[in-house]
């Protein structure tokens, strides 16, 4: 477990999801990476029923195949964000909260695709889809030997630019520089990286994809 950077890959030529994945896979393989299985990160969102509170509270429940025994949950109250990491049985508990919190099935979103390893790096190329509709492509790169984002960002950036080109900016993603909602005095880039940080990056991007009313291209081919 090391530092993970998540980067959306723009779909400029209106390609289908699988063709972008194919294109990136070829580049990663050319660098010497080997495919080691697949990965899946999914997110389901529950909202409090109107009578519960004046301001609706939102509960996100995420799973990451890299941490198969855990459930990650992030509660947004409007003023703050509280993250909880729990055992898998937490999923059964969430179902028991249905009188107070309900989910919209159509907002279930996931990123899924091949997982590659190249020395100290793990590369994941994911197709983001919301209820079977293609939303975009996200690339996740993990550098395993280091736990402090600021110390390995340059290395990860250079590596990412190696196969994604100029789509990767020279500045560390805003997630690491904006004060964390959970600990406002801390700067994430100098903190020890934790699995919840990967999940929070996914949640940020998933929320952006959900806001996009029009999917970038037609339906995804499976």
């Amino acid at each position: 477990m090391g530092v993970t950077i998540l980067q959306p890959f723009p779909n400029l030529e209106n390609k289908t999801g699988p063709s972008i994945i194919d294109f990136l896979s070829k580049r990663v393989i050319a660098l010497g990476a080997q495919q080691v299985g697949h990965f899946l990160v999914d997110c389901e969102t529950y909202t409090s029923v109107p009578q519960m509170s004046v301001q609706p509270k939102v509960v996100h429940v995420l799973h990451n195949s890299e941490h198969p025994a855990s459930v990650f949950s992030i509660l947004e109250t409007g003023t703050k964000q509280i993250a909880l990491v729990a055992d898998l049985l937490f999923d059964l508990l969430i179902l028991k909260m249905t009188p107070a919190y309900t989910s919209k099935k159509q907002t279930k979103i996931e990123s899924k695709g091949p997982r590659f390893e190249l020395g100290d790096f793990v590369i994941k190329l994911g197709i983001v889809s919301m209820s079977q509709t293609f939303k975009g492509v996200m690339v996740e790169v993990e550098y395993r030997p280091c736990l402090i984002p600021s110390m390995c960002w340059d290395l990860i950036r250079e590596f990412m630019q190696g196969f994604m080109g100029s789509h990767v900016t020279n500045i560390i993603p805003p997630y690491f520089t904006t004060p964390s909602m959970m600990a406002p005095n801390q700067n994430k880039q100098n903190d020890i990286y934790q699995p919840i940080d990967t999940v929070q990056q996914y949640l940020e991007h998933f929320s952006n994809y959900r806001k996009l009313s029009n999917p970038p291209i037609m339906g995804m081919r499976n």
């Binding site: 699988p18 029923v49 519960m52 799973h63 509280i82 055992d87 049985l89 508990l93 197709i127």
Partner: protein, 223 residues
């Protein structure tokens, strides 16, 4: 090639439910013993239980009970407990306990739904922000024994309160002059045979302690 076969966590969980391997039922017998007599019971348990060599396992937990109430409903939707070990560094335990099953009266033990979930320490704040209310809290100190899959705890319950003098220390007051004795097993659905084993074990603790199936409904409106 792009999207391979990978099972989602929800699918694996449904498969686990389908195969009936999730221990979500608690079989429970309870009783109590006076402080003055508890040493005898501990001796008896040392003789009967599995962890004889290591001696009884002490524990000191702080438990907070929460309830989530749906709007316009008098009865809580969900009762949750958070347990934190005061003596060792362990994950917090979030526990859901359902209503006791109204089954057959001849059933030897109380059976209720239960989910035990280890989680991070943010759970207390998480539940409060979720809309849960703290109903009560207490600390529980005692010993834990094992016999096969049965768990036996002999513990004393203390009230919370007062101002802690040192960090990590809380002033507590015993709730009664006796120890609570619990015999429990967590098992998947349909393993009612365990009830008989529990009864047999409980027989061996008589007359020191009378372990019984407690009908919570008869105790009145205790949350």
């Amino acid at each position: 090639m792009a999207t391979g076969n990978i099972t989602s966590a929800i699918d694996s969980l449904s498969a686990a439910i389908h195969c009936n391997i999730i221990p979500q039922h608690e079989y429970l017998l309870q009783g109590s013993i006076l402080d003055s007599q508890v040493e005898h019971l501990l001796h008896r348990l040392k003789g009967l239980c599995d962890n004889v060599d290591a001696g009884p396992e002490p524990f000191h937990d702080h438990e907070v009970c929460f309830s989530l109430r749906a709007p316009n409903q008098a009865t809580p939707t969900l009762l949750l407990r958070v347990r934190k070990a005061n003596d060792v560094d362990a994950p917090y335990q979030l526990r859901y306990i359902g209503q006791q099953e109204v089954g057959d009266r001849t059933r030897p033990t109380l059976v209720r739904n239960s989910l035990d979930i280890a989680c991070t320490s943010t759970v207390v704040e998480y539940l409060q922000e979720l809309g849960c209310r703290i109903d009560f809290e207490y600390t529980n100190r005692g010993y834990m024994f094992r016999k096969g899959r049965m768990k036996i705890t002999v513990s004393k319950i203390f009230k919370m309160g007062g101002i802690p003098t040192k960090p990590g220390e809380t002033y507590t007051e015993a709730i009664s002059q006796s120890y609570l004795v619990e015999l429990s097993v967590l098992a998947p659905t349909g393993q009612d045979g365990i009830g008989k084993d529990m009864m047999m074990f409980a027989e061996q603790l008589k007359p020191l302690v009378q372990l019984e199936k407690i009908d919570y409904k008869r105790l009145g409106n205790i949350p």
